[in-house]
């Protein structure tokens, strides 16, 4: 799996087929051919629009810095995996991309503007087990929440909103569970419902916080398929995960995090044993042939 470097960004670029729009941050020049995988200043071929720019950004809760010196770019229609141990700051980075945690140094640009202003085009998928399973709310009501931003204050969902919600639920394979109470579904199904809520919002950037934790094989497959479909439509995806296999399978780029950035670039080139060892503190890794297994997370 940890193989040569020539796939990654170039393949994703072809899939996007972006119109010749203004390229933000393309001035850095193409990064192709850097065999070791560039850690910073990853700029793709010109003609693509950056969905996410981290420019030496540091993020802090009050006076306590959580993440420092993040640097990298994610383009439209690309997926980036956030990889790192528990407490590395993956969830904090996702909250910073939503503008819920302040950037204290450097800059984070989301969809060409500040995280605050970009929010209307960003959808966030929390971990299903953070939500109260006893809450009296149906699956279709949860999915409809994805439309609230478009519906606006004081209004009720229109027929078009209901169609979007139904289509999103169909896409995650749970249309027949629409009337069930959210908490009666399995963990994996609840995670898919939350993904459907995000799809219904028609985002340009999708943020997923550990969507594969404790999820069954069917749900994992469905989530990966839905991510691919969104990428095909030009939506960028940020997904935090412990699963390196999923990063290889579904993500064009990875960002290795543990308080600092230990690598940001095309997946296969960046997920090297050395970098993983540095990210996880050296002792939490096991090497089997060319496969890297994280034994402790």
């Amino acid at each position: 799996m940890t193989g040569p470097t020539e796939n990654g960004a170039a393949v994703a670029g072809a899939a996007v087929g972006a119109a010749a729009g203004a390229a933000v941050g393309a001035a850095d020049g193409p990064a192709a051919g850097t065999a070791a995988g560039t850690v910073a200043d990853v700029a793709g071929p010109p003609g693509r629009t950056a969905a996410l720019v981290l420019d030496r950004a540091s993020v802090a809760y009050g006076d306590v810095p959580v993440l420092e010196e993040l640097h990298g770019t994610v383009y439209e229609g690309e997926a980036v995996a956030l990889i790192g141990p528990n407490g590395a700051g993956k969830s904090t980075l996702i909250k910073a991309l939503l503008g819920l945690v302040p950037v204290v140094r450097g800059r984070i640009e989301v969809l060409g503007t500040s995280p605050d202003r970009a929010r209307r085009d960003v959808a966030y998928v929390p971990q299903a087990d953070t939500l109260d399973p006893d809450f009296p709310i149906s699956v279709e009501q949860v999915v409809m929440m994805g439309r609230y931003r478009k519906i606006g204050w004081l209004r009720r969902p229109s027929a078009a909103d209901r169609e979007h919600a139904a289509a999103a639920l169909e896409q995650v394979g749970l249309a027949e569970r629409a009337r069930h109470r959210f908490g009666t579904l399995s963990g994996g199904q609840r995670q898919r419902v939350l993904l459907a809520r995000a799809i219904a919002a028609q985002p340009r950037l999708l943020l997923l916080d550990e969507p594969f934790n404790g999820v069954d094989a069917v749900s994992q497959h469905t989530i990966l398929e839905a991510m691919d479909a969104l990428k095909g439509r030009g939506t960028s995806v940020v997904v935090s995960t412990h699963d390196l296999a999923i990063a290889h399978l579904a993500c064009d780029e990875v960002c290795l995090l543990n308080r600092h950035q230990f690598g940001f670039g095309p997946t296969d080139a960046t997920l090297t044993p050395e970098r993983l060892r540095a990210t996880y503190g050296g002792h939490a890794l096991e090497l089997r042939g060319d496969r890297v297994i994280v034994t402790q997370t």
Binding site: K95, L98, L100, R119, R120, V122, A123, Y124, P126, T130, L131, D132, F135, P136, I137, S138, Q141, V142, M145, Y148, R149, I151, W153, L154, R156, R181, T184, R197
Partner: protein
């Protein structure tokens, strides 16, 4: 003679209104797991009402303002080091109630007044009180209709609501304010100790009967109205305290619904077993 001139008729209308109001707001109280906080609010409005009575100003206003102070005190206390929301709520509950008792005991006719404040006096309700309760009920339902979906999202998934750009702190305050005005409307009828019955009981009962949010509001309101009116009727029939009769009927309705759902579902049976162990030990 006007229909409203009858004490019993006025009491029944009041009981029906506070029953519906308590039922509807109770759905949110139960969904957000705020019954204990609500109980603290009902107890803590008590000194406010006593102070208002001593000063000769409006009881609703006194209770309401004092309740607002308690909301702020709970929020401030729970932000302290090593404190949590439940501990702060417990302190506010006992502290508020004790203050009310001290104030009442400083007056003449202590025990009679204390009874009226703690278990209510719904038969003493005036036409003006009826109008005030009605206005509160209409206002609360209006806010729920207008802000229902945002309040729902903020209750179910606060981070998701912030991610959408909703002002979650404002929405939380709106919810607590809705509970507070409901408490102020219910306390004169049922008293500081029994008011929580109408704010938790009908909604908790409805929750046992249905999983669907759209059903919970009318169901809880109907249970609240039923218990309220029946409670007044029982109290005139046997000449017993009206507020306590209402609270007892709410408890009876919950008990029946609990037994019904326990018999229906395996989960219910497991819960009943847990309760049996808890009460048996």
């Amino acid at each position: 003679m006007n229909w409203f001139d009858s004490t019993v008729h006025r009491a029944m209308i009041e009981a029906a209104t506070v029953g519906a109001l308590g039922g509807v707001v109770g759905v949110l109280v139960v969904a957000r797991r705020l019954p204990f906080f609500t109980m603290a609010l009902t107890h803590a409005t008590f000194p406010g009402i006593v102070i208002a009575a001593l000063l000769g100003v409006d009881l609703y206003l006194g209770g309401g303002l004092f309740g607002l102070l308690v909301v702020l005190a709970v929020v401030a206390l729970s932000r302290g080091r090593g404190q949590d929301f439940t501990a702060a709520t417990g302190i506010a509950l006992s502290g508020g109630f004790a203050l009310g008792v001290v104030l009442v005991s400083a007056q003449d006719g202590f025990s009679k007044d204390l009874t009226a404040y703690t278990v209510g006096d719904i038969l003493a309700v005036s036409t003006g009180d009826l109008a005030a309760t009605g206005v509160v009920a209409v206002g609360v339902v209006l806010v729920l209709i207008l802000l229902g979906k945002e309040l729902l999202l903020a209750a179910f998934d606060p981070t998701g609501a912030s991610a959408l750009g909703l002002p979650t702190a404002v929405l939380d305050f709106v919810l607590l304010a809705l509970i507070e005005v409901t408490v102020v409307a219910v306390v004169p009828a049922l008293g500081a100790v029994l008011a929580v019955a109408l704010l938790v009981g009908p909604a908790a009962t409805a929750r046992l009967l249905s999983d669907r949010l759209a059903m919970l509001f009318p169901l809880a309101a109907a249970i609240g109205v039923g218990c309220g009116v029946a409670g007044v009727w029982v109290s005139t029939l046997w000449n017993v305290a009206a507020g306590a009769s209402i609270a007892l009927l709410v408890g009876l309705a919950f008990g029946l619904a609990f037994l019904g759902s326990a018999a229906r579902t395996r989960a219910g049976r497991a819960a009943a077993r847990r309760l049996a162990t808890a009460t048996g030990s």
